[in-house]
Amino acid sequence: MSETPSKPVDSPADPAPPAIEVDHLECGYDGTVVLKDVSFRVRQGEMFFIIGGSGCGKSTLLRHLVGLNRPGAGSVRFFGLPFSDADLGTRRAQLKNFGMLFQGGALWSSLSLRENVALPLEEHTGLSRRDRDEIATLKLAQVGLAGFEDHYPSEISGGMKKRAALARALALDPAIVFFDEPSAGLDPVTSRRLDELIRGIRDTFGTTMVVVSHELASILSLADRVIMLDRAEKGIIAEGDPRAMAAAKGGDPRIKEFLQPATEAYTVRP
């Protein structure tokens, strides 16, 4: 977990548009504004983390990014194309380029793991059933679930569900994968293996990764860049390399406190 993350695929001089452009986004639900005036860019191939304490709006922001909630104001663009302002048909067409790993996995309980992974292929490609099943088997093997293809979600552990959900998220070889608290509820070893899996996929395919997390170990080992949200400010309070932010002298105490290693945080001071 101590190695430095590899560089994102593009460089600052890369003329390609950012994978994600968020401008003055207002997020909320049921009339409550959770975040306002949120703006940031995510470069192609970047491992981008959205961090912050519980209840600061990380998952809410993610739901707005992928179109599960409509923003009150502002816009989201993917690869230069409008998304949040686009009509439903255009949004659904763009969604084929994304994968999403939900906090609880969100596998379809009535389908086997193979069927779960094959469903996006069935819906969005003209592949034969045999090809779909082969791809599903391959994706499940990539996440270490070879031999579990015909199991149902209720028959596997929480960590395996997360991995199966990751295989499903990767089924269409998406350009962007969103992760909502991938380590939540996992033991440290399983969590670390999942982190390694995520890194491996990014390094192999150059996939842009957007990860919501408050797991310090994952943030410091995986993230190229983070934005930190704050509940009171209802917006971004910091943006940058998390290791530099953690090492910086002075600065916002909220950021320092959040990025303080657990061992240090629990040290009894005289």
């Binding site: 739901r63 992928v66 179109g67 599960l68 949004r91 659904r92 067409a93 763009q94 969604l95 084929k96 994304f98 999403m100 939900f102 906090q103 609880g104 969100a106 596998l107 379809w108 309980s109 469903l119 996006p120 819906e123 969005h124 959900a165 499903r168 969103f178």
Partner: protein, 375 residues
């Protein structure tokens, strides 16, 4: 000795010293045990100050804090100083926390005026109506899309649902339909016998079953059985983010989850109603044979003469409508469910209530329409 203090019950002894009240707390203070109350301890006394001692105290919990807090409140009201420093140090800290949190923990007024509540309810009802029409429109568009690309239709799910709401529902439909036919025949027999018109029991049972009771009772059974199941399944899927997972993959939940269920119910309801009609007529036949001594063959011939194809068709038209309404209500309530166990339960209840309401509403409309058409 601390060990001894654990077995001694909680006590608070008071003594007055120079106008100040010294309260000595001792023994084991447990919320689950018997603890002294401050009002009893201070009864009949009017001290100029209150202070605590706790040398003889054993284990203590929140009960000690409540005692000390009551003392503080009493002192504040009486305008006398209170010194809790003689209590265990951790209890003093917690007491300070309790004191600071107390003003903010007062319950706030949650009741609203009648006008406000009525306005909110009306607004919600309007929103709910809009959601129903929006959902119907979404289903219609989804169905039109599916006609164009029928290969994408989830036929396997549809067949599973057909088995679930059709074949699996046969036992309960049989029982209820038989009993309804039986009851109708009994009721009719009592009156018709007075006029020597026993044989017309077959007409009453046949017509009322085929035109009204068959479709209606089958629909009510399916509303409770299948509509609630649809709402619970979809509600649970929503709580587990399975529906969000579909949406993020660009797969409309309506196409994937709702249309197979609607089609299954739309196809199975007429078949179930035909079956229910037969069983209902059989129920009437049993009463006719057993009570009125009408031979089954005579009963059957009378039934055939009284029921026309138009009567059967009206029942089937109702059956298809009721089936679609149950499916729509069940799926809509499931998709609207809150993301919690309570939300899923509410969705199932709401699906049954909405289904039955819509069934009766549609039945009334059909009664008028069929009357106008002369069917």
């Amino acid at each position: 000795m601390p060990g001894e203090a654990q077995s001694i019950p909680a006590a608070a002894s008071v003594r007055t010293e120079g106008g100040a009240l010294e309260v000595a707390v001792s023994g084991a203070w447990r919320l689950t045990g018997t603890c002294p109350s401050w009002n009893d301890a201070v009864a009949g006394l009017a001290p100029a100050a209150v202070r605590f001692r706790s040398e003889g105290i054993g284990k203590w919990d929140t009960s000690l804090l409540i005692f000390a807090f009551d003392a503080q409140q009493w002192c504040e009201a009486a305008g006398v100083p209170c010194d809790p420093s003689g209590l265990p140090a951790k209890a003093v800290t917690l007491l300070a926390q309790l004191g600071s949190s107390h003003p903010s923990s007062l319950p706030h007024e949650r009741s609203d005026s009648f006008l406000f509540t009525t306005g909110v309810a009306a607004w919600k009802a309007w929103g709910s109506l809009r959601e129903i029409f929006h959902f119907i429109g979404e289903c219609a568009l989804g169905a039109a899309g599916m006609v164009r690309r029928s290969k994408k239709f989830r036929w396997r799910d549809c067949i599973d649902q057909m088995q679930e709401c059709g074949a699996m529902g046969l036992p309960i439909v049989s029982l209820i339909s038989f009993l309804v036919g039986l009851t109708l025949a009994y009721q009719a027999a009592v009156e018709l016998r007075k006029f020597g018109a026993d044989i017309f029991v077959a007409d009453v049972v046949g017509l009322s079953t085929v035109r009204e009771m068959g479709p209606m009772m089958t629909a009510v059974i399916l509303a409770g059985r299948t509509g609630a199941a649809f709402a619970a399944t979809l509600g649970n899927m929503k709580a587990n983010e399975e529906i969000d997972a579909l949406e993020t993959l660009g797969i409309p939940a309506v196409d994937f989850l709702v249309l197979p269920r609607l089609l299954a119910l739309g196809l199975m309801m007429p078949l179930l109603v035909l079956y229910a009609n037969c069983v209902g007529i059989l129920g009437g036949m049993v009463v006719a044979a057993g009570i009125l001594q009408i031979p089954p063959s005579a009963y059957w011939i009378e039934t055939q003469g009284s029921i026309g194809l138009a009567d059967i068709n009206t029942g089937l038209v109702k059956a298809v409508t009721f089936g679609l309404l149950i499916g729509l209500a069940g799926c809509l309530r499931g998709l609207q469910a809150e993301r919690s166990a309570v939300g899923v339960g509410r969705a199932a209840t709401s699906a049954v209530v909405t289904s039955i309401l819509l069934i009766i509403l549609a039945d009334s409309v059909y009664a008028v329409v069929f009357h106008i058409l002369g069917v």
